[in-house]
């Protein structure tokens, strides 16, 4: 993280963004110098023009004309350099700022736990990392100096005007409260509107994202018109939110714009009156008037700048919400040292050699674990789960749909923390382990296979980080994937789509199994990994897994008895409770639920099924 998200949590958006800008302080300073240079040169232009009128035309010094003309060109050239310079500095600064900001968002995202992702839509996160950060970039690298520009010009010109004719300038100053009032009102009302625009955009994003992801289902049900209708609602809402903001601008912008014309009118009428009353010379009025155009721009721009500021504010709120989200799963302090110590003590107690504490042996113990999702404590998912799996043995889990199997295994890799009880890995509470260390050696082959849009080879080597073709091939064949990969025209170099679309369910499952095997975990958890794989291939996979027995702890969740019957311990789960446990033989002898399922599968196999 570039900036600790706990810092400046309650300060305003400007204060909050500051630490992200700070590393570019040098650039900002340079930009300020050039900016000041530009402003000075801008002031020179009317003076030069005045000199031409006074000295050349008025006093007839025609010899000075070429020099003055060149001076004008030189000043413009100088301005060009200054302006281009500070613009580049500011752009670079803006880019650097969002580089740091988006990097922090990205890191934060990867710190978040499953609970967060279960409840946050991808399109929403996506828009926080793209369009919201763009609003911030626009603010820091453009709006910022334009505001400065406006304020400088306004204050500077007014100051000069005071020196020319203070009464007239005072009259102009009287317009300022109105200016403040209108900008304040505009900004106050714009704030919620821009926030609504951001939200509407995020939900439009999410809707389109979901439509793209679910395109197969949409097509299968011919729901294109329905989807379009849904889209129209979001699309229209987004437009309406933009219109709301335009209506707000309509209320206040003309007043702000009118203020700038009022300045001119006041100058002319009051100035004219003063001239008529001989309180002021005509020449003074002319030069006073020539400074008006400098005020004109800032005043007229103020409304637009205010809108940009509010756009920035709205985006800040969204980004800050992401950055300050608290992950529920956090590594405890000094986890590494704690685990090393624990391993040493354990070795001493057991009279063993001090082993490498970084390598997990694979002993899993659930100590009366109950679990409910933090956001739904009313519905316990796991109830008093208590079992022990020795390192290097196999655990099989059988249970009905929704009985809590997947949740149970995700506690092992500490994707959730148990609500009651403890999960012990090698005798040490999972909460004590450094997250990296634990997860690196506990690999869950999830039910939902996700493959990156990359080559098959790179997908398999994802965790292993080994650029070893032979290794990848070996792992693929262990997962029963080598044969179909080799049959593809580009073999291991075939690029698969996001979520592995383009592959069949069984193929995806085998690839993700290969990927997990390549990672060489101490605890390998297969969550219904072979459900879509044909039986012959599964037999092959089972054989390969058997060969690995003893080298790692393997947990298998399956519906097919064939996938788990070789396990040392089989748990039968029902509504989050272990209802039966034992080896295949024990459970068959017990004539309970497991036995019934076994009989059914066996019976169905031999042609006694009642269905289709």
């Amino acid at each position: 993280m570039y900036v600790d998200s706990a810092k400046n949590q309650h300060s305003n958006n400007l204060r909050w963004i500051l630490p992200y800008c700070r590393p570019d302080a040098g650039r900002i300073a340079a930009a300020l110098v050039l900016f000041a240079g530009d402003k000075v040169l801008v002031m020179l232009m009317p003076i030069l023009a005045g000199m031409i009128v006074d000295q050349v035309i008025g006093q007839g010094h025609e010899d000075r004309l070429p020099k003055l003309c060149f001076a004008m060109i030189a000043v413009t050239l100088g301005r060009s350099i200054c302006r281009y310079g500070y613009q580049m500095f500011m752009e670079r600064f803006g880019q650097n700022t969002i580089y740091r900001l988006v990097s922090d968002e990205y890191e934060k995202l990867h710190d978040m736990d499953f609970t967060y992702f279960n409840h946050t839509r991808n399109g929403d996160i996506m828009s926080r990392m793209t369009s919201d950060t763009d609003a911030i970039r626009h603010f820091v690298s453009w709006v910022s100096y334009n505001i400065l520009d406006a304020v400088c010009l306004f204050a500077g010109s007014l100051a000069v005007m005071f020196t020319i004719e203070w009464r007239l300038a005072l009259a102009l100053l009287a317009v300022t409260p109105f200016l403040f009032y209108f900008t304040w009102q505009l900004s106050k009302h714009a704030h919620p509107l821009f926030y609504a625009i951001r939200n509407s955009l995020a939900s439009l994003n999410s809707m389109v994202e979901e439509n793209i992801e679910g395109n197969r289902v949409v097509k299968a049900f011919v729901r294109e018109p329905y989807e379009t209708e849904k889209f129209d609602q979001h699309n229209d809402d987004y437009m309406q939110r933009n219109m709301d903001s335009a209506r707000n601008s309509r209320t206040y912008m003309p007043w702000l714009d009118g203020c700038s014309y009022m300045l001119q009118l006041i100058t002319l009428i009051l100035g004219g009156w003063l001239v008529i009353c001989q309180q002021m010379t005509l020449g003074a009025l002319v030069s006073f008037n020539s400074f008006l155009w400098m005020i004109d721009g800032p005043v007229r721009q103020s409304g637009w700048l205010i809108n940009d500021v509010e756009r920035f504010n709205a985006s800040c709120v969204k980004i800050r919400r992401l950055l300050t989200a608290e992950p529920r799963i956090v590594e405890r302090k000094n986890a590494q040292a704690g685990v090393v110590q624990a391993a040493t003590v354990r070795a001493k107690v057991n009279g063993e050699q001090t082993e490498d504490p970084v390598r997990i042996r694979g002993d899993i113990r659930f100590d009366h674990v109950s679990f409910a999702f933090p956001d739904d404590p009313e519905t316990p998912i796991l109830k008093d789960i208590d079992f022990h799996v020795a390192a290097g043995t196999r655990l099989g889990i059988l249970g009905e749909t929704g009985s809590g199997k997947s949740t149970l295994v995700s506690l092992v890799a500490r994707f959730y923390d148990p609500t009651v009880g403890h999960v012990l890995i090698d005798g040490i509470d999972a909460r004590q382990w450094p997250l990296d260390l634990l997860r690196r050696q506990v690999n869950i082959v999830a039910q939902d296979t996700f493959l990156f849009s990359d080559t098959i080879g790179d997908n398999i080597a994802f965790g292993a980080q080994r650029d070893d073709e032979q290794y990848v091939r070996t792992m693929a064949s262990m997962a029963g994937a080598d044969s179909f990969i080799s049959r593809m025209p580009e073999g291991y170099d075939t690029v698969v789509g996001e979520r592995g679309v383009g592959l069949s369910g069984g193929q995806k499952q085998r690839l993700s199994l290969a990927r997990a095997l390549a990672d060489d975990p101490a605890i390998l958890i297969m969550d219904d990994t072979t459900s879509a794989v044909d039986m012959e291939t599964e037999a092959t996979i089972q054989r390969h897994l058997q060969e690995m027995e003893g080298t790692r702890t393997m947990v298998t969740i399956a519906h097919r008895i064939s996938s788990i019957k070789d396990s040392d311990l089989i748990l039968v789960l029902d509504h989050g409770r272990i209802v039966e446990r034992g080896s295949h033989e024990d459970l068959v002898h017990a004539h309970g639920r497991y036995y019934r399922i076994y009989r059914k599968q066996l019976g169905l196999q031999s042609g006694q099924s009642a269905g289709f």
Binding site: I57, Y99, N122, I125, V208, I269, A532, H589
Partner: protein
Amino acid sequence: MKQQKQRSTGTARRNTFREDEDLEEQIDFGDIKRIGAYLKPYLRQGVIILAAVLSMSAIAVAIPYMTKTMIDTVIPSKDPVRLFALGAVFLLAIVVYELLLRYRTVAITQVGQLMLKDMRRDLFTHIQTLPFSYFDSRPHGKILIRVVNYVNTLSDTLSSGLINVIADIFTFLLTLVVMFVIDWRLTLWSLVLMPLLVLYVLVLQRFQRRAYQRLSNKQSNLNAYIHESIAGVKTTQTFVREREQFHTFQEQQGQVRSAWMRAVHIQYLMWPGVQNISTITIALIYYLGITGLGGVQVTTGMLIAFVGYANNFWNPIINIGNFYNQLITCSAYLERIFETLDVRPEIEDRPGAIELPPVKGRVDFNDVVFKYEPGGRNILNLVDFHVPAGSTVALVGPTGAGKTTIVNLLSRFYDVTEGSVCVDGHDVRDVTLASLRRQMGVMLQDTFIFTGNVRENIRYGRLDATDQQIEEAAKAVHAHEFIMELPDGYDTKVEERGSTLSAGQRQLIAFARVLLADPRILILDEATSSIDTRTEEALQAGLAHLLKGRTSFVIAHRLSTIENADQIFYIDHGQIVEHGTHQELLAKKGAYYRLHESQYAMIRTANGDQAQSAQPGDDAGQDNQVRQDSAVSAQ
């Protein structure tokens, strides 16, 4: 729409976040013309806005004139009445101007937003017609960014930009006329550097365009990567690859940053160019005006006025230049948008395609050959079968043998290369896609759950279904039980992709969805792989009557689900190797028999004997139990 280029979908190589997409070299004015098509429906409003904007520029030109009159004549005349009279006119002009501004602020946003909305809608509806292959062959983030972000970047250019530029051109011409009236020679002199400016802009444009193409490519890559990172975050955490992913992310981000810097380095050169040429011109005017060189004869007052106008004259040019700048920036995005719109769906209704009348469900595959691309491998090789209405066909065989392809051809997600697929004697290519697919219920391997609640997700199968029908469908597939256990039953909120449900629960919901659609032809592609044995068995019992009268195709690896099919096709290497009923195929002792044996053997190995020995004693009790189970669940 004559400008459309043919862009193919399926044959394109897959694109990842690492690769840039190809782009055209030259700026395509056809693309810009096509924006015009979006403006067309709002032309009337556009004209009114333009009238307002032109009136505003007229006032904006008149006000300095009033100021000048005030200073030059009214004040020196020392007549307070005239002073206040002109002041009143001035005030009136301001009021009119601000009223017009009030109108313009909303009207311009409205037209702009309407155009964007139309464009976004066109993109979205178009994407709906694109085949799977389009989605499969590129990162989804790249598609997403086109529909939402790219269209948004056009926002300013389309709304305020276009109309302002017309106003600027108007101001420019108006000023030019006034200048010609004051002194035509001096005016010609002030235009002398114009060609230089045009040349400058043109040269700049070339580089700028390329820089922006590059930038849009890099942004697209970064977006794709962010999108994929979000979608795959659980995988990343499982493999503890956060650091590596972060590294790649920063690399991508760095590329965007340098592409951005390169683009603005060029883009921001525009202002200095225009400004310097403008100053040189003004200096020239002073010089010529004062020295009288070049045949210029002007009075001092005229000269000062002229310089004032010359300033006025460059402002619109700067604005026009900026607009052109924007247009170039946008063209990189526009190109992407139109490119997407130009992708022709491979599967489209044939001209004169008829509505498929309600079918009985007879399916014929006549010597079907299929390959994804010409010259490619035959995925299906002379598949020929005829299924009478109402029968159940099971497709078995190794992964990648072509089972899914067969059912995809039936719903016409792809077109056959040779031969034909007929439903009730209608070639699927002769009927409209909607009428064909509406009569098919496809349950895919990937079950997709939409954000919303359980009820809405089931209702996706038939939008006008009543709550009761939804519950009936859920009961039929035995999803009802688990749904009732959820915190809010059918109203339980489900998140994107059903992340809070188990895979089996998602399959059950998807199952209910298909049943609710009440299709004539039912396709179950590994529909029950994640459903536990008890539910599956109950499901099958309940489904038996629902399958009656429907033609159904079942792909399954678990043979238990397919043994009662009327016909079983064993597919291998894109051909039907064996077909017949379960008994016939077993008797044949061919591929199916071997498959069956190996499965049976897998369960029975090691402990099989014990199971066998345990069987006789409990048979009666066990079977009773089974029957009870199914009876209860079938209700």
